[in-house]
Symmetry: C2
Subunit: 316 residues, 2 copies
């Protein structure tokens, strides 16, 4: 059996990288962009990318391809309505950075689609087709939603696409994914923005920025991401993000109290050091091979993800 | 005239790099460490480093060398008392990350020293002699204190050492320096610690750390710094750091309110983006050459630093 063809909707950094990676892995690939200059740039690089969304979706329906949505959250509803109109029962996944909101949008606008959410955990501060690369997902975690009731055949399609792109699969419930990314992706963007603003301070006092070195450079790097991308990502994950922000505010408040009263920062600094060490130690997760059968397989997969393990292929 | 010899007290990352850089620039250099294994490692690399502080200071007094203090703030008083005992009128600077507290300690424990504070803005998450390199200061800002009443001859010594190490000089009043580094160095360490702790969350829920990618990696990098170094740095700058923490808390509180009420984050994200762009644009400061004369020269130097300009050498 030839491996499943891939249709990518949205060819920015993530979609464009996915198109390149899947093509390099031998898949038949094509894509679509809302921007003619972007589509032209992709074509100039040898990829079949057009602005004709309906045609791309019809080709996916005709070849039973996997459609990957790689557009920002605010652009999703319009694409889903076209899917429902021209290719309603398509195999569908996405690469959007929140999962509950996308699942809700699919249920509303394209309820017949065979949808299994995905989220490759890769990115750079750059954006757009030109910033993409076939290697972007190498070694990255690729979340595949594992909520009860999902279509296991499409689950396998999404996992195989992740593996073809060099990533490992982390199964997770949509809401657990959203809480996790609020902590490790969305909160970092907001703290970076606040740190940059504190450092810049008042115009006319240029001394702080003149002294800023590597700790400021690293701590504010993602503040350089295009604001509309950060807003689409963070505002689409409001409830989980509020919980993460409150967690951070609580810890900062305790720290502020300690600094003001005793002058001590040991609890904060040691907890941060231990957490960073724990993360470093978790960088080599247990690589698991699975079979997609049994009635409780999705629950087992969610447990696997909570343990920090990853899936790298099928068990024989 | 031969260039001034340099005696470095403390040969960790900063002092060890300074020893290497000054030696590479042709200076006569020697150093001292409180740790015999560190001293032995430095000697194995060909540097005259011993644990005999008094002998190193006497040699500095005999040769009119510049002594550089590169020990953590809590270790400073003991060294200063030895200076007052064996080499009281030495030319003295330092590489400690706060300036008011060091100036106060010098005034208390070694009041006869000809002291001009310094702070090279360079570092890595690594520490110790082995982590040092002659190139650590290349292109870095090196603050030289410019408070009224300082010894201009030693000011020139410190500036020339900075230039010899490949850095550019940023003149600043000690208290303005401390407020600046609270914003761009100490606050980044505390935010990194809090972010790491939020991401690590509860043991048993490994999903967030399993998904953490570049935004978390960058945002928490300095949380991996040895806690005792972070504590020495941050706790020694309590008043300025409280102001920076309150600035950050105020901005985070406004953001939290907006997220909870309207769901909007545009003000925070756009301000962060603008601040990061402003910092990137300031990376090529105006390179100035100066003469150290006239009654108001230190005030002029402070203004120069507030404008974000840097000093790269003497005007003819």
């Amino acid at each position: 059996m030839a491996e499943r063809a891939v249709c990518v909707v949205g060819t920015g950094l993530i979609g464009g990288s996915l198109l390149r990676a899947a093509e390099k892995a031998g898949r038949e690939v094509w894509g679509t962009s809302a921007s003619e200059p972007t589509a032209a740039a992709a074509r100039a690089d040898g990829f079949a990318v057009s602005t004709d969304l309906d045609a791309a979706l019809r080709r996916a329906a005709a070849t039973d391809a996997l459609v990957v949505l790689a557009v920002p959250l605010p652009a999703l509803a319009a694409v889903l309505r076209r899917i429902d109109a021209v290719a309603p029962a398509i195999r569908l996944t996405d690469a959007v950075s929140v999962k509950v909101a996308v699942a809700d949008a699919v249920a509303t606008h394209a309820p017949r689609a065979r949808y299994v959410g995905g989220h490759p955990m890769a990115g750079t501060a750059e954006s757009g087709w030109a910033a993409g690369s076939a290697g972007l997902f190498t070694g990255a975690a690729w979340v595949v939603a594992a909520d009860d009731g999902l279509d296991l055949e499409v689950w396998a399609d999404v996992a195989e696409l992740a593996w073809a792109c060099g990533a490992h699969v982390v199964p997770a419930a949509a809401d657990e994914h959203d809480h996790a990314v609020a902590k490790i992706s969305h909160l970092p963007h907001l703290l970076a923005a606040v740190l940059a603003a504190v450092g810049a301070g008042q115009a006319g006092d240029e001394l702080p920025l003149a002294l800023a070195a590597s700790s400021f450079a690293d701590g504010t790097r993602v503040a350089g991401t295009r604001p509309e991308l950060v807003l689409a990502m963070c505002e689409g994950n409001r409830d989980a993000l509020l919980a993460a922000v409150d967690d951070a505010l609580g810890r900062l408040g305790v720290m502020r109290g300690s600094l003001a009263s005793t002058g001590g920062l040991a609890a904060t600094v040691q907890a941060g050091y231990a957490a960073r060490q724990r993360w470093m130690a978790s960088r080599s997760p247990a690589a698991t091979r699975i079979q997609l059968n049994g009635p409780g397989v999705l629950a087992e997969l969610r447990d696997l993800g909570r343990r920090g393990d990853v899936v790298v292929g099928w068990a024989p």
